[in-house]
Subunit: 670 residues, 3 copies
């Protein structure tokens, strides 16, 4: 990217009055250099079947071109027009709840030929109209695509064919691998394949969800293919991935395998939303950023993030700017708000933009102006920031899905109150608050040896090959930190009948036959000394160490014979096993030990609320971000070599104490 893209989604279509000229003026004042347009506007672009009207888009491109503002074009396919559903009601996805009713976005069957036919045509027309325009710097295909639970007859038919291929037509193998004999679910002829929506078989159910995720890969790469027929070499093709939504971007997206789905893109993109005001910690910005950067191991685009957001998110003074630099500190090449102006109707009326409904300057907009001006000044020192992290966290869609079927605190009637992403975030947030930057890796990732530490939270569903890869990683000198539930089942969610943690057993130097839920169970051992929170939480495996050292054992009259947390020296490496959930403080102590074993210097004792992030800019210089996530002024030791505060120009010496104002930022180029 040539610059940090700073801007917002812009919808001329949604305007209650003519605003374009005035909006461009306000954008320029705010240093906005990019707008994202066109996604979700199908009914405006193609008001009737085969009748196209791109006047809104052309008008906006004209204005932006004149103003020197870049444009990202989104294909409009994620929300379908009324005329399509009126003529072809079955383009709406049939899910486990039956066929949907028109209204919401993202409720169609993305595999349906009728939908594909119309989608292809409108994309081609849109590309013809936009691809040659100077202002258009790239494309976003679709929007936060998922499979929308599509499970109609056609999709299930495809799924059966997919299974026939996977199992090479061998039903016995399918029955055995998925354990379908249970409750008489065995399928003895392909013709008997039942409606998968009713299945109670976790292996079959999880396989169907995995299959549904491939529909997303397929759909996105199909769109990318069409777009690439038209677009220029210098135009990127991206997509705005989103995350598990818990009222904000929380964790790994259950319905999309980002790693696979991003393959066809030229640049990875993400939508990142997070709580703010007193709840602003930066953790979601870092999490979403680290994950999206890791997809293509390259810089990425933040295509949506909040300006004012929900009423409860209106940023305090300083926060919008802190957020912007936090994105950049993770390697983002853009900060794009959703959206420029607040909507006057429909549904997301209270998901507010930079401008309120009144289009006036307001405190949030004024802070954006400040950011825009600064980026014009210092953007070239921040764009294309490169990272080299020693630590990686492995995440897995298969494990997430499997733990939805068989929750971490699984009981028949109570599935997954503590879900996969809770464990992922427990691990990630602890690292984040320790100022330890990390990458994400996936089961499919190669070259694990480039990392000194690999953290593996609850990798419940893992193939033998994957576990052997982790074994070899440790053999070759890596440090592995694995948690409970890792490797329990294979990739088909079939629990192993070997002693657990099966293939990793030797590497971890422990075994266990039983597990339970901790109730008033403590933790006791060298790792817990003088700790305030020594509670075993959520789940506990009753570990029997073979070669491993015990870092903590359980404290309870019935369980005190078992270990809880262990460390094993295995060949050239080290392997930690955490048999239960703990507080963040104990996990921090485990990571400190692991950092030591990995030979990573971690002498500096800083951490949240002062978050320190680092990268190498395009001039080959180190750039250090000091981000104060608190309402009080904070100080921290500068870790880099002698450098310069690129916002103020002041020089900063190594090991100087840096003072960062409330919700403030310092950026030092070393």
């Amino acid at each position: 990217m040539k610059k940090i893209l700073f801007g917002a989604a812009y919808y001329d279509e949604y305007m209650p009055c003519e605003r374009l000229k005035e909006d461009v003026r306000m954008m320029l004042k705010a240093g906005v250099n990019t707008v994202r347009i066109a996604e979700s506007t199908w009914s405006t672009c193609e008001p009737q079947e085969g009748v196209f009207d791109f006047s809104h888009i052309e008008k906006v491109m004209d204005a932006m071109e004149e103003a020197g503002i870049s444009v990202i074009i989104g294909t409009p396919t994620y929300a379908i027009p009324t005329w399509m559903v009126k003529s072809h009601p079955d383009v709406l996805a049939e899910t486990v709840n039956g066929r949907g009713i028109y209204g919401s976005r993202q409720i169609m069957d993305i595999t349906h030929p009728v939908f594909r036919f119309y989608a292809e045509r409108v994309i081609r027309e849109l590309l013809k109209c936009t691809a040659k325009r100077t202002c258009v710097i790239g494309y976003q295909v679709d929007n936060e695509t998922k499979h929308y639970g599509t499970a109609g007859r056609n999709v299930q038919q495809k799924f059966v064919k997919y299974l026939r291929e996977k199992f090479q037509d061998n039903l016995d193998e399918l029955n055995a691998e998925f354990g379908l004999d249970y409750w008489s679910n065995r399928i003895n002829a392909w013709e008997d394949f039942p409606d998968v929506r009713g299945t109670i078989n976790g292996s079959l159910g999880a396989e169907f969800e995995k299959f549904q995720r491939t529909l997303v890969d397929d759909f996105l790469s199909w769109q990318v293919g069409i777009v690439k027929e038209y677009c220029r070499e210098d135009q990127f093709v991206t997509h705005n991935f989103d995350f598990e939504w818990r009222g904000y971007s929380f964790g790994v997206q259950p319905d999309v395998n980002h790693y696979n789905a991003s393959r066809s893109l030229t640049v990875a993109g993400a939508d990142i939303y997070h709580p703010t005001q007193d709840e602003l910690t930066g953790a979601e910005i870092a999490f979403g950023g680290d994950m999206t950067r890791s997809l293509k191991q390259d810089n990425y685009l933040v295509l949506e993030t909040e300006a004012q957001g929900f009423p409860g998110w209106v940023p305090y003074k300083g926060q919008l700017r802190l957020q912007a630099y936090s994105h950049i500190a993770s390697g983002a090449n853009s900060v794009m708000y959703w959206h420029w102006h607040s909507l006057h109707n429909a549904r997301e009326t209270y998901w507010k933009g930079l401008l309120s409904h009144d289009f006036q300057e307001n405190d949030t907009y004024l802070e954006a102006c400040m950011i825009g001006k600064e980026l014009q000044k210092i953007g070239s020192r921040l764009v294309n920031l490169k990272k080299k992290n020693d630590i990686a966290v492995m995440v897995s869609n298969e494990s997430l899905t499997a733990l939805k079927w068989f929750g971490i605190d699984a009981a028949e009637s109570d599935k997954g109150k503590v879900a996969y992403n809770d464990i992922v975030r427990w691990v990630y947030d602890t690292l984040y608050k320790m100022n330890i930057e990390c990458d994400f890796i996936w089961p499919e990732s190669e070259n694990l040896g480039r990392y000194k530490i690999i953290v593996v939270p609850a990798l419940y569903a893992a193939s033998d090959g994957l576990l052997e890869k982790l074994n070899r990683y440790v053999e070759n000198g890596g440090v592995l930190v694995a948690t409970f539930k890792t490797g329990f089942a294979n990739e088909n969610v079939k629990v192993s009948h070997e002693v657990q943690p099966r293939i990793l057993k030797n590497c971890l130097g422990v075994r266990y036959h039983q597990f339970t839920f901790p109730k008033k169970v403590g933790l006791q051992g060298e790792i817990t000394e003088e700790s305030d929170d020594r509670e075993a939480k959520v789940f506990m495996e009753l570990l029997k160490p073979d070669s491993a050292d015990i870092l903590a054992r359980y404290e309870h009259y019935n369980w005190d014979g078992y270990a809880a947390i262990t460390r094993n020296h295995y060949k050239k490496g080290y392997a930690y096993y955490i048999g239960c959930m703990t507080g963040q403080e104990l996990l921090r102590r485990i990571f400190i030990r692991a950092l030591d074993d990995a030979g990573i210097n971690n002498s500096v004792k800083d951490g949240f609320p002062v978050i320190i992030r680092k990268g190498i800019n395009q001039f080959g210089k180190s750039v250090w971000f000091y981000l104060n996530y608190s309402e009080k002024k904070q100080t921290a030791l500068y870790r880099g070599s002698d450098g310069r505060d690129i916002l103020t120009g002041e020089s900063v010496r190594q090991a100087n104490s840096i003072s960062v104002p409330a919700w403030g930022v310092k950026i030092i180029e070393g």
Copy 2:
């Protein structure tokens, strides 16, 4: 009305044994002078299609006539017979959840021609049989009518026609006004009009609900028309409106516009239920009464209220009598219990009547006897009580619906925990507890100038005309007290793009661009001095006063630059704006200031639990009610001129201290 109607609903049809003679005897002993019969008994009146059998009704009329007890006849149309549904299953309303299954009442499509055909016939037959009877003093059409969510093809077809008329066939205007471009919901041909049940567009959705409310107006006036063809001049035609139900009568009815629906009636009526025992406050009695009296600005009928009610409502000693006089104190011309005897089967078996299932005298019945006797003695001094209030509260179905779509604490995933009626009741209950009587007005009301103060809670969806009317009201010397969210959107739930509070901005003397949810935000200013509860609650608008005085500003490090509560002297009047929710105590202080500005004397410091209500009786005398809503004896200063306790005959001098027993009543004629 010639007398206070005192009685109950009576169902000879539901009796497990022959009771009529004995019931009449017990009624006479209790001073019952009216029964309400026939509603809900269609399957008994017309056991088979076209076969009529009014023997139960005739038998009861005969007995009542002989006993000198009046009868109100209800049309039986709100619960349809099995034979109709068996032959015509599609008379059951098709809602967003699909077509219903026979069983419950009030699940038919009130617009369906089959239903209308049979309903009309049974009404005509019923009227022929009853209209000429001396004992019949009036009719109730249907029962707690609502639209029951009817949204089948026929109803949606009607809705499209309604929209074509409203927008004069101009689809562009509809699209613009409702903001349908959003998420590609634009409708480019009337043929493309989608199933409205799935819409995510708040404007379209709210318009459909408004349309559904008109179905109720239409249905009731159609029934009234039929009834009037038969009934005598001296027979009234009423309907028993009910309220938003939260386990009791809570607030404005979402599914009916009482103001419009009551136009065709000759007398307004209501069903009022409320908690009792320790939770009895009288607020629902006053609320429902003030609202129903305001419909036709005249006395009204309480057609249903609880006797024993649910097991948790069995009244304490004194409460049944306190409740009865509270209804009358609001201008009710009747106190009718639902119902005479408790039901032995079906569903409402534990919604108990005056008599328990055993038909014996019980404490509740015995208290009714006392009331009946007293009313025989003093009823003539209480009937047709007139009110002249200086204060009105404006309520709006449109705002209620809009705030269901876009809740006061709206976030994407969390609609409306604090709903419109919470704000209405916050305002109303504060006035009630201050012993300030008020009327209700609606957006359609004229002659606002007859009130000294108009209180406007959360009038979210308001036309320009309505807001201009409020402006003029203040210009001409009125005192306006408006809360947050007022005027934010127009009548089509399109948020304004003017600076808020748009048309009222000058009148209120404030503006705001942003709002948020208060978290640990205080209130500070002249109005908050020495107050214990200075918390800003639920929602806060960040007010910037222009000409207004600040009564309180926010206390929070990030928000202390903004005002919270303001007062503005505007032309001849005053306008208060309350930018956040507060405790009742602070609201009380605001009302005291407003009373001052309006020149209303409010020097007396009494209030809940002694509720004082006043009216002018048919002899032109003031009647003062002192109602003690507590389990302890209370005293209060008598506010009226020298008079007489009409229950005891004792004389009472002005400013005397009046002692009211626990859950007791004093009534003074001044």
Copy 3:
């Protein structure tokens, strides 16, 4: 039974690898003498329509026969194969939620001829293959059968015919008895009979549920008939009844009338699951055991109980053994775990067996080995243990269902938070903790006179005949303890119009006309002296004693005129009435008084956590069980005559103090 059956369900079909030989070895080591096989394996036994393959079953029978292990064969009918649903989708039950989707077990229409046809054929084939085998000691028909809510057209048609017979074609009587006039639900022609799934009439709804329960009786006796055509005289036919499920076996099963359904069986059986670890009290073991033993007034089989169970149930050291002897102490002739090994796929993967997924020895298995060895030694002294109890608790499916429609704390919007089984367990658990053993009886039971005390919790729906039977029981010298809600409605859930507690009024010596919910209401009287918990809970009837003594009255300014708990000397007997719910301590005091009146010696003051149970073994000797349900060692006085600890051989003298270790057991033969 010749021995205590000790073992587990065993599924060769579900094995991920060949295990049979090794499993048999481990079984023999554990003293396992019985396995239960074949239920739920239809898709393996009949992989395609009419193609049978019993190789798994034969293989297991061969191995067990060789090892001397007995086999119970379950018919596989509770989970249907895919091919059946693919060809005949309508075998899936149509419930109030519509037709199901294939996947889960127990979702078919058990009355459907297609299902019956295939079920009959597979049962016959299975019996042919197994009935002659030496190792096969008995059969279990189906599994935890219920009606699965089946309510399709065919079932409703049967229901109408059932009603025509019940009411001898007299619709007027049906309308009157069910109160269908209410809300116009009256049925004036059989052709008009509406879809019962939508009914809001509690009498009609409860009758339909009663009818649905008869479908279970019919289905089980049909299966038993087929099985008996093949099986030998020495082979038993049983069924594993289960209980209301609240995450464990809680109370009376709502969907099956155990009393009626068990008639066709030769031995009663049950599945009993319960919390363990700190929550293990033995109450569910005793409850389920006492109930199942009472069905045929004989020993019974525990066909399923937990080994490890859910992760949260993994037993502490000693608990598995304590549980085993607790079952036996109630008269069980078997302790069969569900199941031998944990499942690697599907759904119940975390409902763990004796073996974990790894098939290794683990602490739970090792404790089973200890139990198995002990039973080999002492089993002959424990098998066929007989009970003679003086006390019975009457339970009723009709009352349970009625109180689902009209909850104990019934209000319109809030049905049954305190349900029937809460009252049953309140009564039962109090007796259990007092070490008072009891039987259960049903409305259909005869010879009430064999009991000294009959406890009747909330017998809401009772025929006149049943109440008269209770009257006579007291007249003849019995002691009756009845709670609130008893006898309120008849067997058709029609509330009586007599004064309550209607037919029992004289016997109980009280009457009441009203009831309410207690809020801050105390209890005061001779029974409450120095009690810590004198609160009236949940529901209170306002009792007026006629001849009864008041044991406690209500303490509340408005209710203190009413009695709460009474005792009446009536003819030769005594009758207690408990008008409200109380804490267990007060209920215990009432029972102590009743025991006194019944002349039952209850001088020993022991109780929970040391549970004492007693029986007579096949040698005519008394066997006393001392079960310590706590984590601390406990002592208790030995109540029996001089005897011998049959586990250690030590002699024990009458009135000796017995020491029982934590979660431990002593068994004394007197």
